[in-house]
Structure formats: structure tokens, C-alpha cells
Symmetry: C2
Subunit: 344 residues, 2 copies
């Protein structure tokens, strides 16, 4: 029930304490570590070239939920980790994410992120590309400092997969023949791979055995897919003030997300022509986003996208059953359960 | 003597067998390893996303001199290294370089590289940014496979410094107050840092002690500076057919390279106004490149840039005296000695 002509249902979702509460609980549990992660991030962006901390700080310090680094921290703590490498790894994970966002915003020509103007709008595309490279390099330096080759393998491999997913997404853009499988391949690589690697890295650095670290990896992969599916639904059904970014960005860029894949499967001839013009040919006018939302509602595409997300979130809960049961794994379970009902 | 109204001096430089011979000698010495490096590079770019090997292959397989990976290979062989990690590291070094070139060409909107149209022109800027990220990630995966944390630290730190240098270059662009020191800081980070790390990594993986690996690092740093200085001179004085890229690219982008820094120091009022209009304000017309070349010639700026390059090349030779003396270090010495007299 995330899509409606009336605002009430989304308002409900935004006010739903479930997701916000689950994030707040994880933030509380990982609080001291999370403070250290933020300090590592600020330190990593130091540079005599003033534009670097300015631009990077604009993005990173604007916040975000810090979901990915919390996965690393919680997974390490779930195995009673006593060292400090998990902080460096969590910071590295957030920096990989930040570098990806910077390059994403250039590629998508986005204007708003986390409630602020994007770096590419303020500083320029060139600057965003190069500072993204800098942040990416700093992420690797932090991983190397953590000093575990197995973890380095996990995270460096994930970062390659992310880039692969971004290219695949670009290649499927505007392609109305994109299937559920193609969409899922994009989501798995551009989003779920980093979620999975973040959690697995935390478990591995803490000395978890193969089965237990694998449980965290699978959990986080499925959480990541659920999370991205909801994101893609919110791009049509959310509120800008809550999202911190513009609604309809995916539509304007002609991205083939799951709502569109579903809507096309049940489209009338008139709707097919509409999607062809707006997505495939990229010819849009001012009323088209509203028309797209109406077509998505008529076909039940948003509800079905959320239902699909729920299946992945449910699987994430099953995956976690094979992990040690403690406050950390319980908080992660709560996060997965609530991840489908969120408005931001 | 690289600048002249008549073509003869450049022709001499192009035909000068010194640099070509030195490169060929290194290629012969590292031949089997270099073949393996090329195989690693091709393997690293494999992806089910077809655009990735297509785009990456266009750049990487177009060639280039493979100077940086040869530094890694020669340094490792100079210490009689018997393993195979040096091949992975050399491939990683070339991939870092390739990723940087892809992003550079987007940032500079370059149209020609290594005698071919640039990837950003053929595939687009977005694709070049994302495939650059992919190549960069693959470089890290290869380094991790090599399995030496000390080498990982050397190379990941260098890649951060490169990005910092690229941002600094962007920040000094069009700034007529840029000094020799600012220019050198850009060159040290955007070019010399990877040369230095490439050679040091080869020595360290081969088990060289601190003094000996430091000798290779310093040698390669100074070689890298000399190399970039000549590059910046050739951007005004070279021949396109030999360079494989357009002459005057730096001028059109308003880059503050050493020839301009020198020319400004000795500029007439009229020349100052010329540089202000063309570099600072970026207002150029068809005759301006020829006028720029004339001003550089009148002030001796190209000759002085080459003379400065020679001082760094000479220092590189002195640095190498502290390294083991064998066919590899002798070939590297020959390269440094010849690096100043090149036309491509």
C-alpha cells in the first residue's frame, strides 16, 4: 500500500516506527564503534588539496543511514570481536559506497541526494569523478591497514562487481525488453554485493568460521536486494522530503527497475505506447510522471515490487538462523523484517 | 632543441634511436613476463557485461609503451625474483594507469589517445567513468592475489596520491599564478607516484632490503617526473603522428604546465595578455596554438622544460647507483638517460 493518489498511506509508512526503530537500535548497539568509523572517514578525506575534504565531506557528512558500515560492525561484534580492524573495514565500506554515489550522480546527472544538492551540481562533474577516485583509493588504504588478506579479497572483489553492475544497469537502460532476471542481476551486483561483503568482512575479521560468516553474507545479500527493491518502489511512490532525493529520478533516466518490468507485463496497448515513448525513446513532458504513477497503480506494480522485496527480506531472516543468536544478530533480524516498510 | 619553426629538430628527436632502443631493450629483457602481464590484463577485463571487455580492450590493447609494468618486472628481476607475483603486480600497475587514463579523457574531453579515438568519444562519458571504476577494482583484486600486504600498502597509497594529483591539476587549471612548485606537486602525484610505486613494488616483492628498494623507488620517481616534463613539452612541440594524440590538448584545456610557467616568467605585456585571454579566460581561436608555440620558442620555455627534465633524469641515474648492478638496472639506466630525447 505504498502507492495511492491520496498521501495517507505513504505518510503511514514514513511514520512507521519499525524501520526507523530498527536503524536506531543498530545505531545504539554499534554507537561507540560508529563514532570511530565517522572519525576514520573524516581522517581518510584529509588532503592538502582543499577541494577534496570539501566535496567528500559534503556527501559523507551529509549523513545517510550508515547501514553498510553497521553491518560490518554488528557482524564483528556478534562474534565478540575485541580488535579495532572492524572500524577501519566499516569506514572502507562506507567510502566505497560514497565513491559509487559520487560517480552515480555524475552518470545519472542527479541533482539531489540526502536532502542536499549533489556534488556534481555544486562542484562539477570532473571534480566528482576525480574525488570519487580519491575516496575509492582511500577505502583500499583503510582495508590494507586492517591487514587481513581474506577480507581484502572479499571487499576488492565486491567493488569490481559493483562497477560491473553499474555498467550493466547503463546497458539495460531504456530497454523495455529487460526481464526480471536482468533487473535482479543489476540489483545483486550494484547493491547486494556490497551489503554481503560488508557483513561477511565483519564476521571474517572476527574469526567466524565459514558457515557462520556465510550466514551473515547471505543475510546481507538478501537484505540488500530487499532494500534496493523498496528503493526502486519509493522512487515512484515516496515523498521527496522523506527520501532526501527527487521522486521520479529513475523514470526520467529511463531506468528499467522492477516496477516498470511488472507494469509492462500487464500493460494495455496504450500504456505500452506510453512506456515506449517515455522510457525507450526518452521523450517526456511534465505530466508523464503522474501518468507513470497511475499506470503503476493500475497494474499493481508497486505493491508487487514490495511483495517481492518481502520475499527477499524473509529469506534474510532464515539465513540469520544459522548465525550466533545474540543482541547483534537480533538487531539485524529486526532490520530485515522492517526494511520493507520504510518511507525513506 | 625540440621547438622550431622548421620540422627538422623534432624529426631528429623522433628518429633518435636512444629512447626507442632503450624501450625495446627493456621489452626484450622482460619479454616473457610482459607476455604474461598482457594475458593477466586480458583475463582481468573479462566480464559477462560485454561493454566492459570491449571498452577496456580498446584502451589497454591499443598498446602504450607498458613503461610502468616494465619497471615492476625489471625491479623484481634485478633481485633475481623467481615467483610469479611480479606479473600480477605489473598488470595491476598498468590497470591503475589505464583506469586513470579513462577518467582523464572524460575530465579533459580528449578525443585521441594512442592514435585511436578515445573511449569517451566512442562509448560515452558515463561508460568510461564506470568501466574505469571496474578496471580500478580489478587492479586491486590482482594486487590482493599477489598476497603481500607491504606491496598493497605501497600501491594503494600511490593510487590515492594519483587521484589527489588529478584534483590538484584541475584546481590549478587556468591559474596563471601557478608556480613551478605547484606544477611539480601535480607531476609528482599524478605521474611520478605510480612510476615510483611500480618499481618499489617489484623490488619489495622480490625481497629487496629497504635501501635497495628505496633506490628503485627514487629512480622511478625521478624518471617519472622527467617523463612527464617531456610529455608536457611534446604537447606543444611534438608531432601528432608520433605522439598518438593531438598536439595542443594541454593548451586547449588551459593546463598550467611547465612550458607556460616558464613563458609567463619572461612574457612581454602583449604575451601576458595573450596567455590571460587563452589560458585564464579560455577564449581561443584557430591561430592561437601557433601563437602559443611562437611565444614558447621566443622565451626558450620548451628548451628550459627539457633541461629541467634532464636534471631529474640525471638524478634518476644517481639513484640507481645504490641498486644492484646487472642487466636490469643497466637497462633502466639506459631508459632514464634516453627519456629526455624522445618524440613520442
Amino acid at each position: 500500500m505504498l502507492v495511492s493518489a491520496a498521501p495517507a498511506p505513504e505518510q503511514t509508512a514514513i511514520d512507521d516506527p519499525g524501520f526507523k526503530g530498527a536503524v536506531a537500535n543498530l545505531q545504539r548497539l554499534t554507537g561507540d564503534d560508529l563514532t570511530l568509523v565517522n572519525e576514520e572517514i573524516v581522517a581518510a578525506m584529509r588532503s592538502p588539496v582543499a577541494m577534496i575534504p570539501d566535496l567528500a565531506g559534503h556527501l559523507v557528512q551529509a549523513g545517510g543511514k550508515r547501514l553498510r558500515p553497521m553491518l560490518t560492525l554488528a557482524a564483528a561484534r556478534a562474534f565478540d570481536y575485541k580488535g579495532d580492524s572492524h572500524v577501519k573495514l566499516a569506514a572502507a565500506v562506507e567510502l566505497i559506497h560514497a565513491a559509487t554515489l559520487l560517480h552515480d550522480d555524475v552518470v545519472d546527472a542527479s541533482a539531489l541526494r540526502r536532502g542536499l544538492e549533489t556534488a556534481n551540481v555544486i562542484w562539477g562533474n570532473k571534480e566528482s569523478v576525480l574525488v570519487g577516485d580519491f575516496i575509492f583509493s582511500r577505502a583500499f588504504e583503510l582495508m590494507v591497514e586492517a591487514g587481513d588478506l581474506c577480507v581484502l579479497q572479499i571487499l576488492s572483489s565486491a567493488s569490481g562487481v559493483i562497477a560491473e553492475g553499474e555498467v550493466l544497469q547503463l546497458a539495460t537502460q531504456k530497454n523495455l525488453n529487460a526481464t526480471f532476471e536482468m533487473y535482479l542481476a543489476v540489483v545483486e551486483s550494484k547493491t547486494a554485493a556490497l551489503f554481503a561483503a560488508a557483513a561477511q568482512a565483519g564476521a571474517v575479521i572476527a574469526g567466524a568460521d565459514g558457515d557462520a560468516s556465510e550466514a551473515f553474507r547471505r543475510y546481507a545479500r538478501n537484505l540488500g536486494i530487499a532494500y534496493q527493491l523498496v528503493d526502486d518502489a519509493l522512487d515512484y511512490s515516496g515523498y521527496e522530503a522523506a527520501l532526501g532525493k527527487r521522486v521520479g529520478d529513475d523514470f526520467r533516466e529511463g531506468k528499467m527497475t522492477l516496477p516498470i518490468v511488472y507494469a509492462l507485463q500487464r500493460a494495455t496497448d496504450e500504456e505500452k505506447a506510453f512506456w515506449r515513448r517515455t522510457i525507450s525513446e526518452g521523450r517526456q513532458n511534465g505530466d508523464d510522471l503522474a501518468a507513470a504513477r497511475a499506470a503503476l497503480e493500475r497494474t499493481g506494480a508497486i505493491d508487487d515490487t514490495i511483495a517481492c522485496a518481502r520475499r527477499f527480506a524473509d529469506q534474510a531472516l532464515i539465513d540469520l538462523e544459522r548465525a550466533p543468536q545474540n543482541v547483534y544478530s537480533h538487531a539485524l533480524a529486526e532490520l530485515a523484517a522492517a526494511s520493507v516498510n520504510r518511507g525513506y
